[in-house]
């Protein structure tokens, strides 16, 4: 095929097909006479700005669509200028892979990919903290943290302070959170709350999944309220029930009100 025929053939093809066609013809560079016209067609097609070439198309597409994920939308709204919002988006991808593992879908492949992604993050400067941010969307507490930030916004917190709070939570959400399990009793929940108040923690959270732990948490909170604990310690409390019929959950945010 002469150059002119190649040019006519590739001129209406999408860039990827052009590249596949040319390499299939044994073209590996543009050194031969006349190939500069082929080169220019490739440059022009790439400059149209339609295509991004990536190592994994499915993963890139998921990341593209993650901007419509409710949790991502919420955090983008609450802290729109957050420097590491890309890590939250990556965390939503990690969360998706975790869900696939739970469903027994290509468990080894997804585990390996999670490991690779985390390793790539940890090797960045400040990687340990960056990894904490990326892991946040994979935790059960992420919606609780979002609900808490949303409450602060309702209470009039400015954007900068929400971001400061979010940064603080990235670092210490684990010590500020209590996951109430089936084996927990009232006393443990009450002790947790008292300890947080003693440590002067400005906010802490309790999460309960399923009926029994939910009842225990509600009972403990009712007990503390009857003792005026929250009021005396200057805390505001927000309780929300959510989840669905097979997966009910109770989120409790306890925080000092500034405004």
């Amino acid at each position: 095929m002469v150059i002119e025929e190649i040019l006519v053939f590739i001129s209406n093809l999408p860039l990827k097909e052009v590249l596949i066609y040319l390499t299939g013809k044994g073209i590996v560079d543009y050194s031969k006479p006349g190939f500069e016209k082929i080169k220019q067609i490739i440059i022009d097609k790439h400059n149209e700005g339609k295509y991004a070439f990536v190592p994994d198309k499915t993963e890139a597409l998921f990341l593209q669509q993650a901007n419509a994920d409710p949790k991502y939308m919420q955090i983008s709204m609450l802290v729109p200028k957050y420097k590491h919002i890309n890590l939250i988006r990556t965390g939503i991808l990690l969360s998706e892979y975790n869900k696939k593992i739970e469903k027994n879908e290509e468990v080894d492949r997804h585990r390996n990919r999670i490991y690779q992604i985390k390793r790539e993050i940890i090797h960045q400067p400040g990687g340990r903290r960056l990894l904490k941010i990326a892991k946040l969307p994979t935790t059960e507490f992420f919606p609780t943290i979002l609900a808490y930030l949303a409450q602060l916004k309702v209470n009039g917190y400015p954007e900068e302070q929400l971001e400061e709070e979010f940064n603080g939570l990235v670092d210490d959400w684990q010590k500020s959170s209590k996951f109430a399990g089936n084996d927990d009793d009232w006393e443990e929940i009450i002790t947790f709350c008292r300890r947080q108040a003693q440590d002067k923690n400005p906010r802490f959270f309790i999460l309960a999944l399923y009926e029994k732990p939910m009842r225990i948490v509600e009972g403990a909170i009712a007990q503390l309220e009857s003792e005026n604990f929250f009021e005396e310690e200057g805390y505001e409390i927000k309780i929300s029930k959510g989840g669905n019929q097979g997966f009910p959950k109770l989120e409790v945010s306890i925080f000092k009100k500034l405004y």
Partner: protein, 88 residues
Amino acid sequence: MTQEIIFEELGEKERVLLLRAFDYDVDEEGYVLTPSKEKIRSKENPNRFIEAKFALLAPGSLEIMDGTPTAISEFLIKKESPEENNGD
């Protein structure tokens, strides 16, 4: 309205051919070389260089970036931001 980016994968030979159209190249170890034949340092991990098979070859005037989920997310966020899209 901003044009949505279409993501595609490319085989090794096709990636090299695209890079060579913009006077980049790939060395024997698979690292991308600039037109001045220098390896490109990863923005995310300055101790590493960008390998062609793991790179994001961004649209428009060819831009070579890390192809990790964090870098792809950052690229997407910039594309979606109103500042980036001003004048489109």
